[in-house]
Amino acid sequence: MTTSSSGDPSTAEAAEHNGNIMASSSTFSNGRAHFDYLTKEENERLRKMFARAIHQTAMPFKAFEHHTWQQFFHALHGAFHIPSTEMIGGDLLRLEYTNIMAEVVRNLKQFVMICLTLDGAINVQGKQIINLMACGPMAFFLEHFSMELRRESAENLYEKLIDSKRRLLLTIRELALGFVSHVVSSDAGDGDANPQQVATMNEHFVGAPMFTFYSDSPSVMIKLRRLCIQDTEFLFAFGCSPHVLHNLCMDLVKEFPVVKLIVKQIVFLVKSVCKIHLIQQLFDKICKEKYGITLVFSYSRKRVGERSETPPSA
């Protein structure tokens, strides 16, 4: 991005050329700074739009901090200043999150059936994270939480799930007559005098949607599914079908010796090709020559997003 002066005449010319542009733009923008005017509201609106674009496209917060970008924006409009990184990652991020969640709630209000899904993952740093989604059938992200593996029992997860569900119901449905939300009952202090009850179940809300639950199939989740359908909180609790089909593939490999042998050989072949760079290059070349395509030659044990353990055959 930066131009440095060097002995090379072409580079020098380019630098001069760039310098001219910068000079003219800076003169232009300097002038603009005196004439351009934005009201506080307009400036605020532009900053929000700017932050929204950054968050929606998952750009680094300091992407525009470089002075060339600042010059560009200054030339575009003398009174507009890019919000600082702290602002983008702080207040404007919180605002964007609130807006998006409001949109999610607006959508969820229309759903006649809400299916909650829980799914856990561990990143390379060993930090575990569980996300909670609401589908109907379009999926919306609700929240994520982490739970120590030692504490990750079906009962604890169930507690979390029920709590999230209750909070969701409070935002998308009206309370039925005679019921109050948690906040009102605890803050009012006149709970004893008032016969109103804290809303906890589906029946305590007006026209609550049908709730179901989906999870993958480790034993803790199977137990959680059983807990879910014990009372009326969830009508049905299902296991994830793609996970089960993946397990079927694993069972086929395990149960049938010939299939097992062939898959083992395929895995050996894939690993051998991937291990030696020259052979991988050769494989790519042959694919290009024979079929005119580039194939990704990979082996993975991932459960979702993988078609099978069979690699594309050469």
């Binding site: 759903f111 006649v112 059936m113 899904t117 829980l118 799914d119 856990g120 993952a121 561990i122 990143n123 390379v124 994270i129 996300n131 989604m133 589908c135 109907g136 059938p137 999926a139 949607p209 049908m210 989906y214 999870s215 993958d216 199939s217 199977i222 009508l235 049905f236 609790a237 299902f238 296991g239 994830c240 079908s241 793609p242 996970h243 089960v244 089909l245 993946h246 397990n247 079927l248 593939c249 069972d251 086929l252 149960e255 049938f256 010939v258 062939i262 898959v263 050989q265 072949l269 051998s272 090709v273 042959i286 044990r301 459960r303 979702v304 078609r307 099978s308 069979t310 055959s313 050469a314």
Partner: protein
């Protein structure tokens, strides 16, 4: 596919392959096996990629398992020979499919499958090809499972149960003509049920509308982890 490795290896390669890799590549029976395994798993991974997608319908869960079971029963003879599969092995595969389904199965799956008009012909054809019992991947027959699902939905309301069961009965014996609410099988089942006749299916309509809107799995959560760049580890994915 079996001739290609030999053809490639006969050319002058400027890379030295390790001996065991070279031997494996030149073994014709290995490539026959690879082709057979590809055929064996093709339907499974077609179903898998469909079910983990965004537009899969809840009724297709049961259908996919039926399709896989049908595929295992009708494997071409050369594939069966290459994989050394006897009739007993094919029966075992069928048992495996049923077992896998049972780990996630609820009567609701059968109800969604039975009330999606798209699969009416498939059901008839499969029953003709195999036996009627082939369709029952759960413990009970499909109709029994449907009744169980309806019972679960109405909880203790006996009258509502009776009304819904009779509406379900009406649906199963409906006459398929052009005026039928369910004639346009290319619509999503939830849309067809949303347009169903209120005077006939007044009690069944709402719950079925909700059931057909259910997703097929928890893959949305997995996708969310992926899009948030949470790297999968060997412990959990």
């Amino acid at each position: 596919m079996c001739q290609l490795p030999t053809e490639i290896m006969s050319n002058d390669l400027d890379v030295d392959l390790p001996n065991d890799l070279k031997d494996l590549i030149l073994t014709a029976s290995f490539w026959k096996g690879v082709a057979a395994v590809e055929v064996l798993l093709s339907v499974v991974y077609s179903c898998l990629s469909y079910l983990e997608g965004d537009e899969s319908t809840f009724s297709s869960v049961y259908t996919c398992f039926l399709a896989v079971a049908h595929h295992f029963r009708t494997l071409p003879p050369d594939v069966r020979a290459a994989l050394d599969l006897s009739n007993a092995d094919v029966d075992k595969m069928h048992t495996l499919v049923c077992h896998c389904l049972k780990t996630i199965f609820l009567p609701t799956h059968a109800l969604a499958f039975r009330t999606d008009p798209l699969f009416d012909d498939l059901r008839d054809n499969l029953a003709k090809l195999h036996m009627d019992a082939f369709l029952n991947l759960g413990d009970l027959t499909i109709l029994q499972e449907c009744k169980k699902a309806i019972k679960r939905m109405v909880a203790i309301d006996i009258l509502l149960n009776r009304l819904m069961q009779s509406e379900f009965g009406l649906y199963t014996i409906r006459v398929e003509d052009n005026d039928d609410d369910f004639a346009d099988i290319f619509s999503m089942p939830q849309h067809m049920w949303a347009l169903a006749d209120d005077s006939v299916y007044s009690h069944l309509k709402k719950p079925l509308l909700a059931i057909h809107k259910m997703p097929t799995g928890a893959s949305a959560g997995e996708r969310n982890h992926k899009s948030a760049n949470r790297v999968h580890s060997r412990n959990r994915s």
